[in-house]
Symmetry: C2
Subunit: 392 residues, 2 copies
């Protein structure tokens, strides 16, 4: 803190100059503002990369969480082999910012996307696409043939067998057949198995979560063995999440972890329960929050300037206030949140700022164009969330 | 449709050239894509502007719905007196694109925002800010004094008395006192009353909705009379919504309507019930939808490439398929939606495209950077949603 204050126009000028380093305080930022506590973020990055190294697993963190090339770069510099991208357009943004080792986790469907994918693979030879369908494999192979490209294709395995899976080829023989097809075609390379089980990541209680992830990842490892017995190399099995990173890394045959949320954390992940039996999951620190301002006050209620356009609303959980205990947030429209202060540890007045942990980090980040990195109260960086909205 | 097909790189080139007019088909667009049926949109604009004209009410449509300067301009050209903006940063974007007659509907709180507001008022003399607090009025007046600016301030009236209001000064004497304060200060102009009652807009059933809106807008009209009896001019009472436009326009003393959603419509508004007693509200047409692609299929279930990052999730309602009956959408993560096809009127296969009406238009539009205007199957325009994410 240097004691100076700036108008928002000054703030914009400083951000545009690229020379942010410590000239702004977090109080200078227009609210709602998406903020990253750099100390906590770096602690999370250090812990996860250290865990992967110690466990002898590759780490390919999911960029759908942050959509920010700067963050992808920091993760690679800390030891990640690259980044996962949820969709092709997200991967294109990352690639155009020099991020290598990309894995696109959703199937690339339709002639336009297939053409874009093989072009991307021509420029980025190490990119991997996921597939779960023979016709899609043939289409990718045909398109690649016209461009002298030979993309790597990784099987997406439907390990989530309890629910109706949202994608994937069934484990065992169907997967083997698809692997053989990829291997047999001239313009595609078989690049192992992806096995992501969405419900496992948020299963409550470490032991239940462990049981579930061992079962589902076990299917992936069995399928790997089946493919290898048929003489195909299948040295890569990708999976895991922030909730199962230290479970999956202990499963023999899983070679790569793809967690996303650990860099930020959110209310949702805090509820899955820790390995010590605690109801709170504390393996990683809350580094992400939204700064809001109280704009109205009456009796025991305050209104802040952040509503459903500033926080994710896909989970039944609400934003949680940081630093002030006993504040209950509820939605009050697109642009407003209502705070019940009846149990609050301290009072709030119009103009006061309140920080909130977001309910679910990925869709919350997807609402903002910028993330401000702070150290203490000082704004150290302002990164563009360049792949924001890239769901294509 | 001209029969040509384009890659997404071609599409980007055509969009960047500004010369879109009919060269692209909707099938050329990468999905998920936010699309506006221009015929339906123009029908909606024509109906609402015609209604306001006939009722002798000013129309200041809410730009928080579209966040798009092009759409604000079309509404002004059709007869609107300007646009409402939910927040200061949204108003700044609209002003920088030449939209006049702006009303910022949320209070401008904090030194930084107040400074930005009075600067904006210096450049845009007809802008109106809303206030509900004496200290805020004094702060605005003081800041304006240093800049030779004299912004117009409109009282935000807390008419939503059944629930805890999210903003506003109580009707009657408290409002009168605040009006007097504004009038007495050298650097502010008193500019009437804003009375928006959020629950009234979505009250189910026309008669119940009418009763509610007449009660709450009645408080605004009474307050207007009280202020006028004290000798202050109070010629403007703003309020109303897409659900109450033809109710509020009949209330004597309400001078201006500020609906937003009518241009697009959504699943939520379709459920409020029509004046004819029908459970479906058909006063305006669904013009807004999201094009998705089926990327996975198994038995009676299909997966599309649009999930909670492509649709609003603040209401309990789901996206509704257009053109195919009996499809039930449910969430399947950030990037996926699950379709139950067991009751579907026709089958779907991988690669097929399905259009969906969004659950709630405002936060859905706020997820996209671009809205494609189509006429039939032809893409006629691609407008930037320039104020997307501007919740500050």
């Amino acid at each position: 803190m240097n004691g100076r204050t700036y108008t928002f126009e000054d703030v914009e000028r400083i951000l545009a100059s690229g020379d942010v380093g410590g000239r702004l305080s977090k109080d200078d930022l227009p609210t709602p503002a998406l903020v990253l506590d750099l100390d906590a973020f770096e602690w999370n990055v250090h812990k996860m990369t250290g865990h992967a190294r110690k466990s002898n697993r590759a780490l390919r963190p999911h960029a759908k969480t942050h959509k920010c090339p700067e963050i992808a770069r920091i993760l690679v510099q800390a030891g990640a082999v690259g980044a996962c991208a949820a969709k092709l357009s997200e991967a294109e943004v990352l690639a155009s910012h020099g991020i290598g080792g990309l894995l696109v986790t959703a199937a690339v469907i339709g002639r336009h996307k297939i053409e874009s994918a093989v072009r991307l693979a021509q420029r980025n030879r190490d990119i991997i696409f996921t597939v779960d369908d023979a016709r899609n494999v043939r289409d990718l192979n045909d398109a690649a043939g016209t461009l002298d490209s030979k993309p790597q294709l990784r099987l997406n395995l439907a390990v989530d067998l309890l629910l109706c899976p949202r994608a994937g080829i069934p484990p065992g023989r169907p997967a083997l057949e698809l692997a053989k097809l990829i291997h047999s075609l001239p313009n595609s390379r078989f690049a192992g198995i992806q096995a992501y089980d969405p419900p496992a990541s948020h299963t409550q209680g470490f032991d239940t979560r462990k049981k579930r992830s061992c079962e589902t990842m076990g299917l992936a490892v069995e399928t790997r063995r089946l493919i290898e017995r048929e003489g195909l190399e299948c040295s890569l099995v990708t999976g895991g999440s922030t909730g199962t990173y230290n479970i999956d890394s202990e499963i023999d045959g899983v070679t790569e972890l793809q967690p996303g949320s650990f860099i930020f954390m959110d209310v949702q992940y805090s509820r899955i329960g820790g390995q010590d039996g605690s109801p709170v999951y504390r393996d990683f620190k809350n580094s992400l929050f939204v700064i809001t301002t109280v704009i109205h006050k009456r009796k025991g209620t305050a209104i802040v300037d952040a509503g459903v356009k500033s926080f994710s609303t896909d989970s039944p959980l609400f934003p949680e206030a940081k630093g002030v205990a006993g504040i209950a947030y509820s939605w009050a429209g697109d642009e407003y949140g209502r705070l019940d202060l009846s149990g609050a540890s301290s009072d709030l007045d119009v103009g006061d700022r309140v920080d909130f942990v977001v309910p679910h980090c990925d869709p919350s980040v997807n609402l903002y164009d910028r993330i401000y990195g702070i150290r203490g109260d000082s704004v150290e960086t302002a990164w563009k969330i360049t792949a924001r909205g890239m769901s294509q």
